[in-house]
């Protein structure tokens, strides 16, 4: 029984991380129709900020965490301003190619100006210790991550439903031209979407770095791929869909990891994506795909 509970908690923790990452992608997509594949590099910016602070002998964990989050938010807004704004009204494929291009440029900047090797960051190890939860030993990091994701979901809901800017973002997701006609500044809506996306990347960065303990130029690639899959499963552009997709992906991954016989271990990803394909046959636009003609997108 303890084993099953343990694996359920693991699946929840995996799902929480994927949900956090997927939300960052979904919020930009819902407003701008852009799949921001450079989201992973925003996470890496947070990681390299931690390295820079370490080099400056700044080890205070609160400063490290705050700086990483602020750096990710800043980088995200800068990308919107200088990379994505010029192609805002272009064909969606142009935006997609721009995102890939930005991702590659940032990776190569990390490679050339920092290092191709993983650089250890030990300042967040303190976040991880064993916790006995009703007789089941779990990692404190799993609890923090699941809790943080839950808080983020609630905060995002409040922001999108209770604030003028949030309501404007929801409206922009539905009909951007109409939002502009009523006097809301388009640049501000886009910038806030990227700011929130950067905040989510920064938060994800903290948990990834606390667990991983190192940063390298490609550290964002896998997470953003998982986030993309989670978004597709949940329904691209839907924030609840991104969360649901993240948790489904986490559960399927953990289930395949522990249920597949060892000799089929190499086919884990094939099984994971097979299950996802079945889900997409059932709901081709994702489980909670936004209604196209009416209703709330985000």
């Amino acid at each position: 029984m303890e084993y099953i509970v343990q694996q359920v908690i693991n699946a929840l923790a995996f799902g929480a991380e994927y949900a956090l990452l997927a939300l960052g992608l979904a919020i930009v997509f819902s407003i701008m129709g852009l799949v921001n594949f450079a989201h992973g590099e925003i996470i890496a910016v947070g990681g390299y900020t931690m390295v820079a602070l370490g080099a400056l002998m700044i080890g205070n964990p609160y400063i490290v965490i705050a700086s990483a989050v602020v750096a990710a938010m800043f980088a995200s807004v800068m990308l919107e301003r200088f990379a994505f704004r010029p192609v805002r009204y272009a064909d969606p494929t142009t935006g997609l190619l721009t995102a890939f291009g930005v991702s590659m440029i940032l990776q190569n900047l990390f490679l050339l100006f920092v290092s191709p090797r993983p650089i250890a960051v030990t300042s967040l190890y303190f976040l991880d210790w064993p916790v006995n939860l009703f007789g089941v030993q779990v990692s404190s990091l799993q609890l923090f991550e699941t809790g943080a994701t839950a808080l983020v979901i609630v905060a995002l809901m409040l922001f999108l439903r209770r604030t003028t800017l949030g309501i404007a973002m929801r409206a922009a997701a539905l009909d951007f031209e109409m939002v502009r006609l009523v006097g809301i500044r388009a640049n501000r809506v886009f910038a806030v979407a990227f700011l929130v996306s950067g905040l989510l990347a920064g938060l994800a960065c903290i948990f990834i770095m606390a667990r991983r303990g190192s940063v390298d130029p490609h550290m964002g690639f896998n997470p953003v791929l998982k986030a993309f899959v989670a978004c597709v499963v949940g329904g691209f552009g839907s924030l609840p869909g991104a969360v649901l997709g993240g948790f489904i992906l986490g559960a399927v991954e953990v289930a395949m990891l522990v249920l597949l016989p060892q000799e089929y271990g190499g086919m884990k990803d094939a099984f994971v994506f097979g299950i996802i394909a079945l889900l997409l046959i059932w709901r081709p636009n994702g489980i909670l795909s936004p209604r196209i003609e009416k209703g709330d997108k985000v």
């Binding site: 693991n10 303990g213 884990k268």
Partner: protein, 383 residues
């Protein structure tokens, strides 16, 4: 105008004469991308500069031609062709069989051989190509060396982590470790799957905790930073087992996880390509290169020095820069001097180097050389 044409013609005709004065080694290796930390070009360049500063080989300078393959097979093949056309007498490429085999096939048409200083995968020794050398011993040897030390430490019950993503290196090396442990009276309690890029090992750790018997050692052949996450999560979960591995552990970032708490590395050891502790020849070489202004960041980049030193030795011994003569000289020698260990030999093994296998552990967070011998009980059925 006439003068310019004449000058250009002179320069054109001068190129072959200049080419004969240099010994060209072509390295189409990943200088960017995931595998960049493992490429050998910095060590090769440094060793070439050292030899050239001493007058070269029979008066000829060694020229290391380096270009980024990004880890892509097709790019590596194109680069191999380019280097061969430029007169390279030996080639190097990424240590994965799916790249090494086609590159070796291209090189075979020119009579040129591949010298890969870090390739431990067994696939290359199955007879598909015969113009191939690896400067190290295959994975069954490192697995055996690690298992022998584990048995010495009283290890009985082991868990093997396997993955198909790194070929035999990550899929079969753990099984060879398990074979030696079982031959020594131990037991393989479980085999668990993993993927490269794993940043949370909680599902596998839950499996380990659910086993009937306490685990003495967990063996994995994987890469950093995944390994450091596993080490920390195992300790955090209260599993007091050895974490044992292969050359993938051999990265400076592993040592850094013990910066605050060195005890986290107390039960970690790995069998690797060459000794890389503080007093080793590899560390001495890296320091010498640093003084020359060349950064050689770790054991894997340093191994390029072995390629250059073996090539220089073969040319000096045979007195020829003919690629086939170089290969024959390497293959028939009882002992070839290299940088990372005193000597290697291909005489009995043909394609891989017979050499000692170092087992590296940690004491108070610092690397220590535990043993460095050629294991005699290596499983025989690996090829």
């Amino acid at each position: 105008m006439k003068k310019y044409i004449l000058t250009a013609a002179c320069l054109t005709f001068a190129v072959p004469a200049m080419a004969e004065d240099t010994i060209k080694l072509g390295l189409g290796v990943p200088m960017t991308g995931d595998y960049a930390p493992y490429a050998e070009w910095q060590g090769a360049r440094c060793m070439a500069e050292m030899i050239n500063a001493d007058g070269g080989v029979d008066g000829k300078k060694i020229e290391v031609l380096v270009q980024d393959s990004g880890g892509d097979t097709q790019t590596a093949i194109s680069l191999a062709q380019k280097f061969l056309d430029e007169g390279a007498v030996m080639l190097g490429t990424i240590p994965f069989s799916d790249t090494m085999i086609p590159v070796a096939q291209v090189a075979a048409e020119y009579g040129v051989s591949i010298f890969q200083p870090q390739s431990t995968q067994v696939e290359m020794h199955a007879g598909l190509v015969d113009n191939f050398f690896t400067g190290v011993s295959p994975d069954p040897f490192t697995a055996t060396a690690a298992a022998n030390y584990a048995l010495e430490q009283g290890v009985k019950n082991v868990v093997l982590m396997t993955s198909d993503e790194g070929g035999s290196w990550s899929a079969r090396t753990p099984l060879w470790f398990g074979d030696v442990i079982e031959a020594g009276g131990g037991e393989v309690l479980s085999k668990l799957n993993f993927s490269f890029g794993t940043s949370d090992w909680s599902p596998q750790i839950a499996e380990i905790k659910a086993l009937d018997k306490p685990v003495d050692a967990v063996y994995i052949s994987s890469i950093m930073p995944d390994i450091s996450v596993l080490i920390r999560q195992l300790k955090s979960a209260g599993i007091d087992a050895w974490v044992v591995g292969s050359d993938g552990f051999d990265d400076p970032s592993l040592d850094e996880i013990g910066a605050d708490d060195p005890s986290i590395l107390d039960k970690v050891f790995f069998a690797t390509l060459a000794p890389s502790h503080a007093d080793s020849a590899v560390v001495q070489f890296m320091n010498d290169c640093k003084e020359m202004g060349i950064d050689v960041p770790g054991l894997f980049p340093a191994t390029g020095a072995d390629t250059v030193k073996a090539l220089a030795w073969a040319i000096e011994t045979s007195g020829s820069t003919d690629p086939k003569t170089i290969a024959d000289t390497l293959r028939s020698a009882d002992s070839i001097p290299v940088m990372s260990v005193d000597e290697i030999s291909f005489k009995e093994t043909k394609t891989y180097a017979q050499r000692t296998i170092p087992v590296i552990g940690f004491k108070e967070g610092k690397r220590v050389l535990i043993s460095n011998v050629i294991p005699e009980n290596t499983p025989k059925d690996w090829n």
